[in-house]
């Protein structure tokens, strides 16, 4: 479990994070979503004791990171994949972490195997691609078999196979009851990965709920319809809505009608009554990306 209580970080000339409070439970994948410079990394670094909050506190499994006895066995973190000594080999980098945490060398090889770096042990970090560095970072985060994972942009630089592997792996970890906290800009990837979303804008958390809750709250689901006589049908719908004190919910875009309802039966019966045939009907919902964009632009 990760718990942030009024986390705030002010720099001399800016407010990076303002009063961020949230609780992330085990068994869920939480996505941390926000534009560049919105305070995602700062918040993660405050949780990990790398940046001192101006005020507020963060706890992992009820303990501040700095007070954890074996931090890597409680929480695995991946911050910036390029933070490696270029002259050190992939194996040696991970071996160092294993030495520090009294983890046997066999586990190092096991993890390199798991993240797909088997055979690259001797490769110097300077020669490793971004994807390889990212995999190494993931291996390091998993080294202590932690109950909590904090990953900052873990999909950056991964190939499609890697992304799919990571997605399934993280979902699996969550189903084992682990608490997964992932930041990313890839909205479509987040939409299929996360259970909960934590949305941050200018250092302020503006949404914190499950994805289904978010969709229910912000998504305007609608029906996309096309009929044999669109213009007539628009008038019929507008009349109907006018009688029901609402006339702003029908839109004609090209030959497609957007109708703000999620009841296709009602629409079908209305068309039948007026002798119009429906030739196309699709139920549409706002994607996470659209909700995110809406929230960022203040349209929602």
């Amino acid at each position: 479990m990760i718990e942030a209580i009024s986390l705030t970080k002010h720099y001399d000339d800016s407010k990076a994070v303002e009063n961020a409070s949230f609780v992330l439970k085990g068994g869920r994948v939480t996505g941390f979503i926000g534009p560049n410079g919105s305070g995602k990394s700062t918040t993660m670094k405050m949780i990990l004791g790398l940046i001192k909050p101006t005020s507020g506190n963060a706890f992992i499994e009820g303990i501040r990171y700095r007070d954890l006895v074996s931090p890597i066995k409680v929480v695995g973190a991946l911050l910036e994949p390029t933070f490696l000594h270029p002259g050190v080999s992939i194996f040696s980098h991970l071996k160092g972490a294993a030495i520090k945490c009294k983890i046997p060398e066999a586990r190092v090889n096991e993890l390199l195997d798991l993240v797909g770096l088997a055979g690259k042990q001797k490769l110097r970090c300077a020669k490793a691609s971004l994807g390889m560095k990212q995999r190494l970072g993931i291996a390091q985060a998993l080294l202590g078999d932690p109950r909590v994972l904090i990953l900052d942009e873990p999909m950056n630089g991964l190939d499609p196979e890697g992304i799919i592997w990571l997605r399934n792996f993280l979902k699996n970890m969550a189903s084992e009851g682990k608490c997964i906290f992932v930041s990313s800009h890839l909205m479509n990837e987040m939409a299929v990965l996360i259970d909960d979303a934590l949305i941050i804008k200018n250092g302020v958390i503006i949404a914190n709920s499950s994805l289904t809750e978010l969709a229910r709250k912000y998504s305007n689901s609608y029906l996309e319809v096309s009929t044999t006589d669109n213009s007539a049908f628009v008038e019929i719908l507008k009349n109907y809505y006018r009688e029901n004190l609402n006339d702003s919910v029908v839109l004609l875009e090209g030959n497609l009608l957007k109708v703000a309802t999620n009841d296709p039966r009602w629409l079908g019966e209305l068309a039948l009554e007026k002798n119009i045939a429906i030739v196309h009907l699709v139920k549409k919902e706002n994607t996470l990306e659209e909700i995110y964009t809406g929230l960022m632009n203040g349209n929602l």
Partner: protein
């Protein structure tokens, strides 16, 4: 707290400290720059001593009596220290500044969130590596140097008190220099800045201060680290300089100040 619980707590803290040191040692062992800089030191210590001793041996007939009286065979055999400083400074500055430069400090602090422990482990390992490796090179340089000087000068045996005092004293000087560099690098965090500062103290400050009118120049110069290093490598007493014990305490003081500064800053700053 019962005695047993306390003993366990002490044991676990000691264990954490030891693993922190092993991790630092691993980092030193896995980077090429450590080998290059420490090898440079070793070659500098032995090589320069051999060269200097050979020159003195060849030119001994041309030295005046007063020159002969002030020639210290112990210092000639340990003169490579002057060159070795370069390697020691680069080695110890890089051990910290590279962490900031490459960002590996993030991993280090994630693995060891107790920053004071991290910094103490770093200083312990760097200082010990410098101390023991210089002790070996200095002993080798001393034996070779005295062998070269033996026909013409009154040399002392490597196992004499005078020789051991100078060898251990010089190794201490180099390791104290390493501590100063590590502490300073935790404050400055940039390779270029830290190396420039150390060399300013070692190389630039002495000639500038010597420009001052007498007796200010000698009064100040004797308190510089480089002067302390020269004193510790001598067996003869030097006029205008501090005593070996004074130089030892001076280096200890500089190390402690730099160390304390490093601890203060790493604990207060972000990352």
């Amino acid at each position: 707290m019962s005695k047993d619980v306390r003993a366990k707590a002490v044991n676990s803290v000691r264990g954490e400290y030891i693993t922190a040191c092993l991790y630092e040692l691993h980092k030193i062992k896995s980077t090429r720059s450590s080998y290059v800089s420490m090898l440079f030191s070793a070659i500098g210590i032995v090589g320069l001593s051999v060269v200097v001793c050979s020159i003195y041996n060849a030119r001994s007939a041309h030295l005046s009596l007063s020159q002969l009286a002030t020639t210290d065979p112990v210092f000639l055999a340990l003169s490579g220290t002057l060159l070795a400083q370069l390697g020691v400074v680069v080695f110890s500055v890089l051990s910290v500044a590279n962490e900031y430069g490459y960002g590996t400090i993030v991993t280090s602090l994630l693995l060891e969130p107790k920053r004071i422990r991290f910094a103490i482990a770093k200083i312990t390992v760097v200082t010990c590596v410098v101390f023991f490796s210089s002790l070996i090179s200095l002993s080798v340089a001393f034996v070779l140097g005295e062998m070269i000087l033996a026909p013409k000068f009154a040399v002392v045996s490597v196992i004499s008190f005078v020789a051991l005092k100078a060898i251990v004293g010089t190794a201490f000087y180099l390791s104290a220099l390493a501590t100063i560099c590590v502490g300073l690098s935790f404050v400055i965090r940039r390779t270029s800045g830290a190396i420039a500062s150390v060399f300013a103290i070692l190389l630039v400050l002495p000639p500038i201060i010597s420009l001052l009118p007498s007796p200010w120049n000698v009064d100040i110069i004797r308190y510089l680290p480089s002067s302390a290093g020269v004193v510790l490598a001598h067996s003869l007493h030097l006029t205008n300089e501090m005593t070996p014990m004074g130089s030892f305490l001076l280096m200890l003081l500089y190390s402690l100040i730099s160390f304390a500064g490093g601890l203060y800053f790493i604990d207060r700053r972000d990352i």
